[in-house]
């Protein structure tokens, strides 16, 4: 199977030296959905940003390799790396409101990637954009191409961002909390749409989320992160039925479900946190941090 994304021993640090990602390795193949879960600050978004080359200025990759569709990104000069990333990877962002330019019509915002990165003719790019808007079930794509973002609902805007992410036929899509800002009913439609598009285009999908419910509906495999370290790699079903790491089990026990009438919730216990912290410290010792 072709690996569209392979991360080997990736370490990211604050320039001051504080580790943000600790020897992260993962592998996503064509047609696979890999979830990145963890609490806020665990570093799940940072993995996506490291791949896309959009890490905040204060952070830097200190070691490790990122392979995108067989190309080692680290060996490329910056300009070429940006080109490869632009052509092979795309992002579905969290907030559909801020991700679209409010002063530009939808059309040019979708076609830009095709024109700028792939060098398409404007007319061809527009035809493709209309086709894509149809694929994400937007009624009357031609009218929407002429609309401004504020004229559209949150769900519609997220559909447009999905269309735009798939526009250049990327090998890898990174979806960073794509439904957190949406209502549950809209969330369901959007998650289905992402799955549908991902299967049709046979892309690899890296799905960043804090919502274990969403993971169980979308992912094939997942990595659980704690303090920038992958503490468990699992197939989705196995994770929910037999989580191995105590922290994974604790996360599951702390997640409320409306089907449980007793509704008892167990917060992650200090003992579990201490043990996981210890693991992270041991990793740092081995890595000579």
């Amino acid at each position: 199977m072709t690996s569209f994304l392979q991360i080997k021993n990736l370490n990211v640090r604050l320039k001051a030296g504080i580790p943000i990602l600790r020897s992260v390795s993962l592998n996503v193949t064509a047609g696979q959905v890999h979830g990145l879960v963890g609490e806020s600050g665990a570093g799940k978004s940072m993995i996506g940003k490291a791949v896309l080359g959009t890490l905040p200025r204060a952070l830097q990759v200190t070691s490790g390799e990122i392979w995108l569709d067989g190309v080692n990104l680290n060996t490329l000069p910056a300009a070429q790396r940006r080109k490869v990333i632009g052509a092979k990877a795309a992002l579905i962002p969290q907030d559909p409101l801020t991700a679209l330019n409010p002063s530009k019509r939808i059309g040019p915002q979708i076609t830009r990637r095709l024109v700028d990165i792939l060098g398409w003719q404007k007319s061809a790019a527009e035809a493709r954009a209309i086709e894509l808007l149809g694929e994400v079930h937007i009624p009357d794509p031609k009218r929407v191409m002429q609309s401004y973002p504020h004229e559209l609902s949150g769900g519609m805007r997220q559909r447009i961002l999905i269309a735009s992410a798939f526009a250049a036929e990327p090998k890898l899509i990174i979806a960073d909390e794509p439904t957190t800002a949406l209502d549950v009913t809209v969330q369901k439609q959007i998650l289905r749409l992402i799955a549908e598009m991902q299967q049709r285009h046979n892309t690899a999908l890296l799905f960043v989320t804090h919502d274990l419910g969403v993971v169980s509906k979308t992912c094939d495999t997942l990595s659980v992160l704690y303090a920038g370290k992958v503490i468990e790699d699992a197939r989705m079903r196995r994770f929910f039925t037999r989580p191995i790491h105590p922290y994974s089990a604790a996360l599951l026990a702390a997640t409320p479900t409306y089907t449980d009438p007793t509704g008892s919730l167990t917060p992650v216990s200090q003992a579990v946190i201490d043990a996981t912290e210890q693991e992270v410290r041991e990793h740092d010792m081995r890595a000579g941090l």
């Binding site: 549950v184 009913t185 969330q187 369901k188 998650l191 169980s216 509906k217 929910f240 509704g263 917060p267």
Partner: protein
């Protein structure tokens, strides 16, 4: 009854539809809501974005004035009560906010933040009352000397809760107070709220978009859709036998952390 609400209506001027001259047309956000909230109940107010759930909460606290209908708080009509009269009553109904970062003054210490409403209502023994509030929410007393930025999200939300209960109110409105928290802190805050409701005999209205959280905490649930109550009842009845189509749709859309849930 803590609250008796009859035909509550609330409208705002719709500035997007305002013509150059003349008043803006009004858009009705709450369209004739009627319900009772018994003392000691924990009411979950649920609905999608724009359904009016936060507006309803704010009307109950009279942060907004209804355009029609009536609100009785513990038998007293507060529908159009003046701000001066309300100020004294506010000791009896308090609010916990969604985002503890922006609802706590970053330049004041936790102790000062909790003491704020106490001073406003002319209370004495401030230090003792602040300490007691910190004890109740399970924060060490030494936190009174800290600033909000030194605390984690869950700890900050506890400060928000401490500020609300310091006045010993009868009623608290909690608006989406766990939606910004991770599941582990969320579980702690929910457990804490449940404990406080029991110990202090509080009546609580809990605004949330998350039905799983509501089932965990609430005794009654009210489902809002486009400013109308589509369903209201006890938590058990609503979850076991949802009647309104919208409630059923909401429940069916929630992804449970269970790979065997039929969801597609």
């Amino acid at each position: 009854m803590m609250y008796e609400i009859r035909d509550l209506r609330l409208s705002f001027p719709d500035m997007t539809k305002k013509l150059l001259l003349g008043p803006a047309p009004r858009i009705e956000v709450l369209k004739g809501l009627s319900f009772d909230l018994p003392k000691g109940a924990v009411l979950g107010i649920v609905g999608g974005s724009g359904s009016g759930k936060s507006t309803l909460g704010r009307a109950m606290l009279r942060l907004l004035e209804p355009s029609d209908g009536s609100i009785l708080f513990d038998g007293t009509d507060i529908t159009h009560t003046s701000e001066d009269t309300l100020r004294e009553m506010r000791q009896r109904f308090q609010m916990i906010f969604q985002d503890p970062m922006s609802s706590l003054n970053p330049r004041r210490r936790v102790g000062g933040i909790i003491a704020g409403p106490l001073k406003l209502h002319g209370m004495d023994n401030l230090i003792a009352r602040v300490n007691e509030a910190l004890d109740m929410v399970g924060l060490p007393r030494s936190f009174a000397e800290r600033y909000p930025h030194e605390l984690s999200g869950g700890q900050r939300q506890r400060v928000g809760i401490a500020r609300a209960i310091a006045l010993r109110p009868d009623f608290i409105l909690a608006d989406e107070i766990v939606s910004g928290l991770d599941v582990s802190s969320q579980a702690q805050v929910l457990n804490l709220l449940e404990e406080l409701v029991r110990e202090l005999g509080l009546t609580l209205a809990f605004v949330s978009h998350d039905l799983s959280v509501i089932r965990r905490l609430c005794t009654r649930v009210l489902v809002l859709h486009h400013g109308v109550i589509v369903e209201e009842g006890t938590t058990a009845a609503l979850f076991d036998n949802p009647k309104a189509a919208y409630t059923q749709e909401l429940l069916a859309a929630i992804p449970l952390p269970d790979p065997d849930q039929p969801w597609a």
